[in-house]
Amino acid sequence: MNMMTEAAVEKALDQRMNDLSYKMIGKDVSVYYGEKRALFDVNLNVRQNTVTALIGPSGCGKSTFLRTLNRMNDTIDNCRVTGRITLDGDDIYDPSIDVVELRARVGMVFQKPNPFPKSIYENISYGPRIHGLARSKADMDQIVEASLQRAGLWNEVKDRLQESGTGLSGGQQQRLCIARAIAVSPEVILMDEPCSALDPIATAKVEELIHELRSNYTIVIVTHSMQQAARVSQRTAMFHLGQLVEENDTDKMFTNPDDQRTQDYIMGRFG
């Protein structure tokens, strides 16, 4: 009887894994840093063409979860990930999956703008170049222009593509990093507190950009700002002490959450 139920659950899950409205599915994801466990059996699904916001107090594991989605945790020596994460139904931790290809499909934007200390053009063209996306110089020019256009940066930098990317303002640098991520045509973009180092005006621009990108990309964003989560996301997941507390539509999350802890956190009682 019990066996039957488990099999049924498994089957249902498998079906869900193949459901294309879910771009990425995390099942029982746990992360260990050496002996220390940072994530406890997180089950979280990321929907196609949706902005999913991850919120929670510092050290709750939201960035850790984000980094499991494109295996950036691999670069940390003693980090171990268990559970299953799929991208379009394929287990991304399967040995047959190449991490380089995965990261081309799941791009990342970091907390601090980190353009390469090279020209703006080289910043954008680096990704397409290593993945062989452009056949000619004209192709590359077109990719660079399109990426900068989409990141809303083209008009500001079109006359100084050969100048250093580090010479831009903080907000421009972050949009350059987003353009750089877009340039390799990813399917999912992960953003780790992309606005925490920016002023309100630059933040507004990046938020607007996230809004526009949603039609073409699936976006997962970690943020410390509740207002930002409310503004940019359609789905919100709340983490606390390495556990997923609640995942819901953003509107419901901020008006009538199911979990008391979410309520408390959003009201500013802890965290």
């Binding site: 380089v100 970091f110 980190n114 353009p115 200390p117 990093c177």
Partner: protein, 439 residues
């Protein structure tokens, strides 16, 4: 829980606590510390100045050389009395050329041919180097035999020293190397304009010689050049590859910790130990030739490697992790991340470390003593397998010589070595400026 805790400082009526306790003391401590710093700096600068002044004041005269300009008659009677040169070219090589020079000098000073004692003293005024100088002229162009040409001949080392005022002429004649007669001739020639100081190109191009006026650092320069080339070609790739592996790829465990500790220790091993190692491994075991700059280069490579590895690892560590994350996040492989982004950013640090390592190797003497590079090498080495010396070893050897003229040459060679070191260090600074980027 709802109690409000009032900070005591804001209790009305309480006196504001004094904030200026010990303020004067703190400022005094700061002033004292600055004074110590300035004192230490001045101390260092004074010593640097004294060192440079002593070297330069002793050594600058080495770049000038006394020469005698004379009308030399290439007399057939002396060079080829039996007129055999057509059938036996050997004659031109073995002819008694110094006599030509002595006769020219005697002519200029009006000394009689049959005054043997004076003739002998005259001969001592000219360097033995005139033999090869005149021979080379005749061999190059035998048609000058029988003609008279104006030639600038090298004065002997003692005359050179006396003319530069380095020999005390007030002591009795028996106690110095130049006689009163020679000094008289010297002054007479100088008045006539025949004896004069010229720029000394010989010190750069000549090989070893027991006659100071003909000795130069040419062989040592070539030896040092070969060794620097070998050190650069070997230690830069090996050192950088080792550092990249240790820093980026190697797992962090006890074994790599042990390697790291050992590299740091190797950097502190006395260089003479490397000389012993080189002697045992390269010469005794591998059978490479002694005194060869190849072996010297190998030994100095071993010595330079730890320096380069430490500098490169520090430079790699200093590259912000955000750059690595950016490249990895784009789907660059680890190798691409390192070679496209991390290494270019670490380049200034690597180059600086390498040049400082090279400069260190250039000035190293002790290990070279053990592999036989302290040698009298008059022939120019054509390959790194040939015997040669090195600049610092040449300085060491000249410092052991007794003649007054070698004292100035020792300092002159030190000046040459210091110039090379300054050029290398300036190069390191320029490279760092050129490659330095902001992030």
């Amino acid at each position: 829980m709802s109690q409000v805790v009032t900070p005591t400082a804001t209790v009305p009526g309480a006196r504001t606590p004094r904030r200026d306790i010990g303020l004067k003391k703190r400022y005094a401590a700061e002033r004292r510390f600055r004074a110590y710093g300035i004192a230490a700096l001045s101390f260092g600068l004074i010593f640097l100045f004294v060192l440079l002044w002593s070297v330069v004041s002793k050594g600058y005269t080495a770049f000038q050389q006394t020469g005698v300009t004379l009308a030399v008659e290439f007399s057939e009677k002396i060079i080829d009395p039996q007129n055999q040169r057509a059938s036996n070219p050997q004659v031109l090589l073995t002819a008694n050329y110094p006599v030509l020079a002595r006769n020219a000098l005697a002519n200029a000073l009006g000394v009689a041919q049959n005054d043997r004692a004076k003739q002998k003293e005259l001969g001592q005024m000219l360097s033995d180097g005139v033999r090869s100088q005149l021979r080379d002229m005749v061999v190059a162009d035998p048609s000058i035999i029988g003609k008279t040409k104006t030639v600038t001949l090298l004065a002997a080392g003692d005359i050179d020293s006396a003319f530069k005022g380095q020999i005390n002429l007030s002591v009795p004649q028996e106690n110095r190397k130049v006689s009163d007669q020679q000094v008289g001739w010297m002054n007479k020639l100088a008045e006539a304009g025949a004896l004069a100081k010229h720029f000394n190109t010989g010190i750069f191009f000549n090989g070893a010689s027991s006659r100071p006026e003909a000795a130069g650092v040419g062989v040592a320069l070539i030896g040092s050049f070969y060794m620097m080339l070998i050190v650069l070609v070997l230690s830069l790739p090996i050192g950088v590859a080792a550092s990249i592996y240790l820093e980026e790829f190697a797992p962090k465990n006890r074994f790599t910790d042990l390697i790291e500790v050992n590299i740091n220790n190797l950097a502190a091993v006395p260089s003479i130990v490397y000389g012993l190692l080189g002697l045992a491994v390269f010469i005794n075991f591998m059978g490479l030739p002694r005194s060869a700059s190849l072996v010297g280069g190998f030994v100095l490579t071993l010595m330079t490697l730890p320096t380069i590895i430490i500098a490169t690892r520090a430079a790699l560590k200093a590259v912000p992790p955000s750059i690595r994350a950016a490249a990895l996040g784009l789907g660059a492989s680890k190798m691409q991340t390192i070679f496209h982004h991390v290494l270019p950013l670490a380049m200034p640090g690597i180059l600086t470390g390498t040049i400082i390592g090279l400069a260190h190797a250039l000035g190293e003497t002790a290990p070279l003593l053990l592999i036989g590079m302290v040698a009298f090498v008059a022939n120019f080495p054509t390959t790194p397998m040939d015997p040669s010396t090195a600049l610092p070893v040449q300085i060491y050897m000249w410092a052991n010589e007794a003649e007054r003229a070698f004292v100035e040459r020792t300092s002159g060679a030190i000046i040459i070595l210091l110039l090379f070191l300054i050029v290398m260090n300036v190069g390191a600074i320029l490279l760092r400026r050129r490659f330095e980027r902001r992030w």
